[in-house]
């Protein structure tokens, strides 16, 4: 069953990305689609089924190779969009398409695809040549931008894609060497080892799939964790001021997997609405006391402000429950200047609130 893991993973990653009008994101979807179709066609059950249904035993291999050419071309188009270099884009499309047409002709001549069959060496050479410019571009630009990227997820993701692409090139070169050994009758035992024939292509697919989707996966995970972390703070404010919620609590936080960007945004805005509603209950002396204690505890920067905000919130919630509003002359606004930094700040407030509340 392990051989079905790569196609299942590829389809899951493809389906997790929605359609988008943005060309770069569209090409990423097409890379995933090409890999998913190729891996599916080359999986044992589908391979056998396609052969049986079509009457052409190795037709699935041609489909798999065509899909891989498509994935490589889409990867190259993606890099062209990103780098803004449109030179030769049309030529690359014709190159990949032409390579597939030649593969079809060669396949028609030698559908058995055995290493010693006539035309198989040419088939492997054309398959390698059809992908070489695209794979070269992915390796070149991937290495360059992995060095320049400022986020860890993007840096690591690009490097995984580069390593996976290098593995794919090595595998293709090995196939050419194997068929050449058979055609010209020389010894090439290294080409038959498990490492080169099985591990290398599996690793290539896996690394490209994981690398291309790592930034999105880690971004989703970060939003999921932030959403969970803000939960107790949001619920405390919702209990005090139910009007802050656009929608009443429904799905448990742990089961909130979809539309996380929107839900996280709503949670931040509703927390801010709740904090605003509690302003008449905030007491300035609480902030001063909290500040002294936090400084004594060695806190500084955003963590200091988050701890003070949590202390003010706990006291304001108590005052509100007791119905004792105060007429504070000056309100200190603590938080971030943009959505990301404000979300990060509120998550620190939520953590401090949990500590102080319990």
């Amino acid at each position: 069953m392990i051989e079905y893991a790569p196609p299942i993973l590829a389809w899951a990653l493809f389906l997790s990305r929605r359609r988008d009008r943005d060309p770069a994101r569209r090409y990423i979807r097409w890379v995933l689609l090409g890999l998913a179709v190729s891996l599916t066609a080359l999986s044992p059950a589908v391979y056998a089924a396609v052969g049986e249904l079509s009457g052409v035993r190795h037709l699935a291999r041609l489909i798999g190779h065509g899909s891989m050419l498509f994935a490589a071309w889409a990867g190259q188009e993606f890099m062209i969009r990103i780098t803004g270099s449109g030179r030769g884009a049309r030529w690359q499309g014709w190159w990949a398409g032409g390579a597939f047409a030649v593969l079809c002709l060669l396949f028609a001549r030698a559908p058995e695809l055995l290493p010693q069959s006539p035309g198989v060496l040419e088939y492997c050479v054309v398959y390698l040549a059809g992908q070489a410019p695209a794979l070269g571009a992915v390796i070149h630009f991937g290495l360059r931008y992995a060095r320049q990227a400022d986020g860890v997820a993007l840096r690591v993701g690009l490097r995984l894609v580069v390593v996976g692409t290098v593995a794919a090139v090595l595998y293709l070169v090995n196939k050419v060497a194997l068929t050449a050994a058979s055609r010209f009758d020389f010894s090439y035992p290294a080409g038959h080892t498990l490492l080169v024939s099985k591990v290398l292509p599996a690793a290539a697919h896996l690394l490209v799939l994981v690398g291309a989707t790592l930034p999105a996966t880690l971004g989703w995970l970060q939003r999921y964790l932030l959403y969970q972390r803000l939960g107790p703070l949001w619920r405390a404010l919702y209990r005090a001021e139910p009007a802050i919620a656009l929608d009443p609590p429904g799905t448990p936080d742990l089961l909130r997997f979809k539309q996380l960007r929107l839900h996280l945004y709503r949670r931040v805005i509703e927390i801010r609405d709740g904090l605003l509603a509690l302003q008449p209950y905030r007491e300035p002396h609480i902030l001063a006391t909290a500040r002294e204690r936090a400084i004594q505890a060695g806190l500084h920067g955003r963590q200091l402000h988050a701890t003070m905000e949590a202390a003010a919130l706990v006291a304001a919630l108590r005052s509100r429950a007791a119905g004792a509003s105060t007429a504070s002359a000056h309100v200190v606004i603590a938080g971030g200047d943009d959505l990301d930094s404000d979300t990060a700040f509120l998550s620190q407030v939520a953590r401090a609130y949990r500590r102080q509340h319990t």
Binding site: L154, A216, G219, W220, R223, A243, L246, R272, D273, D342
Partner: protein, 150 residues
């Protein structure tokens, strides 16, 4: 919402200018501390749309409050209840009440128009893209991070 061209990077003031130009009526954004009972207010006079927003909160929250009021404008929502008219007279003592045509405030989502405006404001903010298109690494991050989606 599809017809709106959102500024990149997102700037709610530029969006307000765009909506004002489309309607042929100026929109004024006016910060104000401690609006009673609401944190945003849209007052439509005979010539101008005035949007008051709470200033004693963070910038992203102010931005959302303005977006909520702009959503009322975009949805052509109708006037609000009397207590807000009283508040409008306090905020604009020099304006003849006869000239005030529409008033809507942001305070909870118990009515359909408030829910609609709040939902539209959230969706507009989700559609806004960060300014990542200037460098290849920024474009790479935006594309691979699947920004704009989950």
């Amino acid at each position: 919402m599809r017809d709106l061209t959102l500024p990149t990077p997102f700037d709610v003031r530029a969006l307000a200018d765009q909506i004002a130009a489309r309607r042929g009526r100026p929109i004024q954004l006016i910060p104000m501390a401690r609006l009673t009972g609401v944190c945003g207010l849209w007052i439509a006079t005979d010539t101008t749309d005035l949007i008051f927003y709470e200033e004693e909160t963070t910038l992203p929250h102010q931005e959302h409050i303005i977006l909520h009021e702009l959503s009322h404008v975009l949805c052509h929502h109708d006037p609000a209840p009397l207590p807000l008219a009283t508040q409008a007279r306090q905020l604009l003592p020099d304006v003849d009440p006869v000239l005030i045509q529409r008033i809507l405030g942001r305070a909870g989502y118990s009515t359909e128009v408030e829910r609609e405006a709040e939902t539209l404001a959230s969706l507009i903010r989700q559609r806004a893209r960060p300014d990542t298109g200037r460098t290849p690494t920024g474009r790479l991050h935006a594309a691979l991070d699947d920004r704009g989606h989950d």
